[in-house]
């Protein structure tokens, strides 16, 4: 056989091995990373949320479980492979708030308990503090008032949008819609309210192809308080819309927080109705690769 063919094959083999090993090493995360979370929960049994993270598929030490020192009353359910990518796996740590008879968290005097870090435990018995974004935990309401409305239908989609439709069961006033993250996420969170009494105001549309088009008045333009008669309807629609300038890390943000409809009946009884804003990213291989590139350049 001609020697030149052998030499060409050797060069191709060397190039393939060298190139692939180089690309492989370039595609590794320097360490596991939790995504940036916007989480808001109440300290009541049954509330749960997922903390999502990305780690190298071939990591020598893998994330085993986490501990949230501020929340002694939670159970952690690790799920190490929610999604698998070429070089990484996306795992989830499900955090579930357990019974009231456990040691309870200590809340600050005013406002919710705010948590930014968790203690991550690895399978080589090492541990370290890791950033997770933000978790806001509200104390459980000891006497939750019965809201004068009933949720009748709801939906959410992979387009980071969702709606909830309510029917009022008593005459009541809607005094506001609040959330811990409304100010922080004003650049990407659109909330609109649809009710018969405000249809004359300027409307905005939220279009999610799978569920249709929803219109309503942007929250900042709603003239609260609004009065509702028993039997009337209201629809709250939200959409998380990332600005074009958002980098690869922002595309991995995880949202699970609450919009509170603050209500008051004619008898002066006030209550809150919760709406869950829930969105976890389903990343493509390309988005994961961009995230890895960003994390590598940032360290």
């Amino acid at each position: 056989m001609k020697r030149i063919i052998f030499v060409i094959v050797l060069v191709l083999v060397a190039g393939s091995w060298g190139g692939n090993l180089w690309y492989y090493h370039k595609s590794q995360l320097p360490e596991p990373f939790f995504f940036n979370h916007y989480i808001e929960v109440e300290n009541s049994p049954g509330f749960s949320f997922d903390l999502l993270y990305l780690e190298n598929k071939s990591a020598k030490t893998k994330l085993n479980w986490i501990e949230i020192p501020e929340l002694p009353n939670v159970q952690i359910w690790p799920n190490p492979a929610v999604n698998t990518y070429t070089h990484q796996t996306q795992g989830a740590m499900r955090v579930e708030i357990m019974d009231f008879d456990l040691v309870q968290p200590e809340f600050p005097e005013n406002g919710p308990l705010v948590i930014h870090r968790v203690v991550a435990h690895f399978d080589d018995n090492s541990s370290k503090e890791m950033e997770i974004g933000e978790i806001q935990v509200h104390p459980a309401d000891p006497k939750p008032g019965e809201a004068p409305l009933q949720g009748s239908s709801w939906g959410s989609s992979s387009e980071k949008a969702g709606y909830t439709r309510f029917k009022f069961t008593k005459d009541a006033r809607l005094t506001g819609i609040t959330s811990a993250y409304l100010p922080q996420l004003s650049d990407r969170l659109n909330v609109i309210l649809d009710a018969a009494s405000i249809r004359n105001l300027e409307q905005k549309e939220i279009n999610f192809s799978s569920q249709g088009i929803y219109s309503g008045v942007p929250l900042e333009k709603v003239p609260f308080p609004l009065s509702f008669k028993s039997g009337e309807w209201a629809t709250v629609t939200y959409q998380l819309d990332l600005p074009d300038s958002a980098g690869p890390v922002a595309k991995t943000d995880v949202y699970r927080f609450l919009l509170y409809m603050e209500l008051e009946t004619d008898q002066g009884v006030s209550s809150k109705e919760r709406i869950f804003v829930d969105f976890a990213p389903y990343l493509t291989n390309r988005e994961v690769a961009d995230f890895v590139k960003d994390r590598r350049s940032g360290l």
Binding site: L12, V13, S16, N20, L21, Y24, T86, H87
Partner: protein, 186 residues
């Protein structure tokens, strides 16, 4: 003559098949030593076998660790860094190319001299088939690290196995067909 070619064939059986129960029941090192002993005799008839003799000597040394611990390239657990076992594996494959080239080249020349055209062309075809499949495997394998596509690697790996088996058969045929003129000429 026939015995020497058959010895290469049996040696190749040890190399091709790996039956592992804690240790390799058909150790590659025994196969390479059998080929080494055959080639050291055959090189007296045809100089082309000398290269293979040195390759089989090197292979018998570097295949010792594989007797105790498997270090084949795996699809489900691809190599993750340039470690000692990976280097050994790459070296073994490259030396196998040299060894099988030398065996085929020597046999091809002996067959041509004896006027066994059919045998010679069969040897040449099988060498080319083996080299093509094995080269494809070696080029495709590292892509396992960066893609989830393994079809080419699986295909070339099976084809390489078949090609080695085909070479083993043609070497036995060479032993049968080349023994007669040699015995007459002695």
């Amino acid at each position: 003559m026939k015995t020497l070619f058959y010895r290469i064939g049996y040696g190749m059986v040890f190399v091709i098949f790996n039956i592992r129960v804690v240790v390799d029941l058909l150790p590659n090192v025994i196969g390479y030593l059998m080929i080494l002993s055959a080639l050291s005799e055959l090189r007296k008839k045809e100089h082309s076998f000398t290269l293979g003799m040195w390759a089989s000597l090197a292979l018998s040394v570097i295949s010792i660790p594989s007797f105790f611990q498997a270090h084949e390239l795996h699809l489900n657990q691809p190599v993750l860094s340039l470690n000692f076992l990976l280097v050994l594996n790459l070296a073994e494959t490259l030396l196998q190319w040299v060894l099988i080239y030398s065996i085929c080249d020597g046999s091809f020349k002996l067959a041509s001299i004896r006027g066994k055209g059919d045998l010679a062309s069969s040897i040449r075809f099988r060498w080319r088939f083996y080299f093509g499949c094995s080269a494809l495997y070696m080029i495709a394998y590292p892509f396992v690290l960066n893609t989830q596509e393994v079809a080419v690697v699986l295909f070339s790996s099976v084809a390489t196995f078949i090609a080695m088996f085909m070479i083993m058969l043609v070497i036995r045929r060479a032993g049968r067909e080349l023994s007669v003129p040699f015995e007459r000429s002695v």
